[in-house]
């Protein structure tokens, strides 16, 4: 499988990372190197093998569906790049 520049641009878009057009050829080449390395996995017979979910076969624990935490708006917002009136502030989302 070979990745071209338009695929590289699509992946960057999906990952929400801005990549300038002039950087796309190098990015596509790097992807191809890494994916070429990964291609080795196709040599393995995986018929009937379950994909691993967790190294320890365990059921994730459940807890009571009750409030355990809260009332710390100031702490939650303390590290926000832009917080106003008790909210996270972001650029306008809807016109």
């Amino acid at each position: 499988m070979s990745i071209d520049q338009s695929t590289a641009a699509k992946v960057a878009k999906l990952a929400r990372i801005k990549v300038e057009d002039e950087a796309l050829p190098a990015l596509a080449a790097e992807f191809n190197t890494i994916l070429g390395f990964i291609e080795q996995l196709n040599e393995v017979d995986v018929d009937g093998v379950e994909p691993m979910v967790s190294v320890e076969p365990m059921r994730l624990k459940r807890r009571e569906d009750v409030v355990t935490d809260g009332n710390q708006q100031d702490k939650v917002l303390a590290n926000a790049p832009d917080a106003r009136e008790g909210f996270f502030a972001v650029p306008k989302v809807v016109e």
């Binding site: 990745i3 590289a8 992946v11 960057a12 999906l14 990952a15 929400r16 990372i17 801005k18 990549v19 990015l27 790097e30 992807f31 190197t33 890494i34 994916l35 390395f37 990964i38 291609e39 080795q40 996995l41 196709n42 040599e43 393995v44 995986v46 093998v49 379950e50 994909p51 691993m52 979910v53 967790s54 190294v55 320890e56 365990m58 994730l60 624990k61 807890r63 710390q72 702490k75 939650v76 303390a78 590290n79 926000a80 790049p81 832009d82 996270f88 972001v90 650029p91 306008k92 989302v93």
Partner: protein, 495 residues
């Protein structure tokens, strides 16, 4: 006592309890060593006030006869651990200015046990790297040099700052984390001991996530006894981590008898790689001889899927990273890019992540995005997870055949020069983890023990891999190997 920073945890603990030294004296010695070692770029956020406050509190407890396991012992904390009120950036620009309002479970347990935090340690950005060259703080530098050559060498990665700091005696021990070898490879490169416990032993809560099914914390120390002491403090069930094991933590130090008579040690033939340097091959053979001389039985074993561990890892780890790192969006914490007039929320995400993530992190996030994307999920991600099942089964089969531990080299070479790999393609750098990454995929405990020097006088390490949850037994085998290898070399001080 002089050179207090050169002590290990056990020695310092015993000296503190005997009243020969105070925690304040130990801490001041380390703080001075840290200030003298800026050339190593190991400590990236120093916390002398916190350190001295905790040291004074520790001295009070020791005097009162109420000293917990690590009372008064000064250590460094990898920047990946969230520490309350102290910058915790995972060596990334995107977390610039981030000061957590909470403390990671592991660093809290260390603090509760009386350990003194000296500061935060350099690392590869988001723990992605094997040479500590992807850090926003710049490279961490190894205290080791090739003879009289003054070229700067890598302390390994991702826990490069931790390795450099412990090897240079800036602290008594340090925390590390290990997703593909990030404790064991830097430990091997710098002549120290590092153990990654079984997946689930140490809580991941409050540790910045890289690949959640692989990440584990562990200690990086000056010897095996110290690793046992510190690991016990770091382990334990935590309801805040749903994969944390509900198992009792044994007294690992008490299990260090050095007696390994009758233990079966496996030598996996697949780890004999083409082009392996002769000195690594010799070190490995010598290690097997030492364990045999100590009474162990050496058996040849096969782990047939070893070759596929690295490619499987480079699907699974980036896939999980792309998901985990989606949280860095410039909204809730860290750094937001400067926006242009008219930029909307998508531009905010894209610019923030392009500016905030370094090159290697961007590459892995995008590879992860690709292998998880519609049409490729089965071909890449699910196939890698199936191969992972087979890799784990390889280990289960040898353990079922009675093998107690597996001996391998820790790394395919000694430390290399900073910048030497810049021109290489990313896969060349990934090969550093060829002997360690299988252990993460299988969730097993693995320990790196310094065992010799190469022709340039650089440390080389051997790795022992244990059965799940048998860290005590594994550390005891490591202790026997340490005793036999008698590694005492230290880097000459040039910084």
């Amino acid at each position: 006592m002089s050179d207090l920073n050169k002590l290990g945890l056990a020695e310092a603990r015993d000296a503190l309890r005997a009243g020969d030294v105070t925690s304040v004296e130990l801490t001041e010695a380390c703080l001075k060593a840290i200030d003298d070692a800026d050339a190593l770029n190991a400590f990236v956020h120093k916390t002398p006030e916190i350190a001295l406050e905790r040291a004074r509190a520790a001295d009070v407890r020791i005097k009162a006869g109420d000293a917990p396991s690590m009372c008064g012992l000064p250590i460094g904390i990898k920047d990946l651990f969230c520490t309350k009120g102290v910058p915790s950036q995972a060596a990334s620009k995107i977390l610039e200015g981030f000061k957590p309002e909470y403390e990671s479970t592991v660093s809290q347990q260390l603090a509760d046990a009386g350990a003194v935090m000296l500061g935060k340690l350099n690392m590869d950005e988001f723990a992605m790297g094997s040479s500590n060259e992807t850090s926003v703080y710049g490279n961490a530098v190894s205290p080791w040099r090739r003879g009289n050559d003054d070229a700067q060498l890598t302390p390994g990665g991702s826990s490069g700052g931790s390795a450099s700091a412990v090897a240079a005696d800036l602290c008594l021990a340090a925390t590390g984390t290990d997703t593909g070898g990030s404790i064991r490879q830097p430990a091997a490169f710098t002549g120290i001991t590092g153990i990654k416990p079984t997946y689930g032993r140490c809580s991941r809560w409050g540790i910045v996530a890289f690949a959640s099914s692989l990440d584990q914390a562990g200690p990086m120390t000056k010897n095996v006894r110290d690793a046992a002491i510190m690991l016990e403090t770091m382990c334990g069930h935590d309801p805040k981590d749903s994969t944390s094991a509900e198992l009792a933590v044994p007294n690992f130090e008490a299990m260090l008898t050095g007696d390994i008579k009758g233990k079966k040690i496996g030598i996996p033939k697949e780890y004999r790689m083409d082009g392996m340097p002769a000195e690594i091959e010799k070190l490995w053979a010598d290690g097997a001889e030492m364990l045999k001389a100590a009474g162990a039985e050496i058996v040849d074993i096969s782990l047939p899927h070893t070759k596929y561990a690295l490619p499987a890892y480079y699907v699974i780890a980036p896939a999980e990273a792309s998901s985990n790192l989606a949280r860095y969006d410039g909204v809730r914490y860290g750094r937001r890019a400067q926006l242009a007039q008219g930029d909307g929320i998508t531009e905010m995400y894209e610019k923030t992540r392009a500016e905030g993530f370094g090159h290697e992190v961007q590459r892995r996030v995008m590879v992860g995005t690709y292998v998880l994307s519609a049409g490729f999920y089965d071909a890449y991600y699910n196939r890698a997870r199936r191969v992972r099942t087979l890799i784990k089964k390889d280990f289960e089969d040898v353990f079922a055949a009675g093998v107690d531990a597996i001996l391998t080299p820790a790394t395919p070479s000694a430390s290399f020069g900073l910048g030497e790999m810049t021109e290489a393609d990313p896969v060349q750098m990934y090969l550093n983890d060829v002997f360690t990454v299988t252990v993460n995929l299988a969730g097993l405990p693995g320990v790196s023990v310094p065992a010799g020097l190469d022709g340039h006088g650089l440390p080389l390490g051997l790795q022992l891999i244990g059965r799940p949850w048998q860290e005590g037994d594994l550390l005891n085998t490591a202790y026997a190997l340490e005793n036999a290898a008698g590694f005492v070399a230290k880097p000459g001080k040039w910084w």
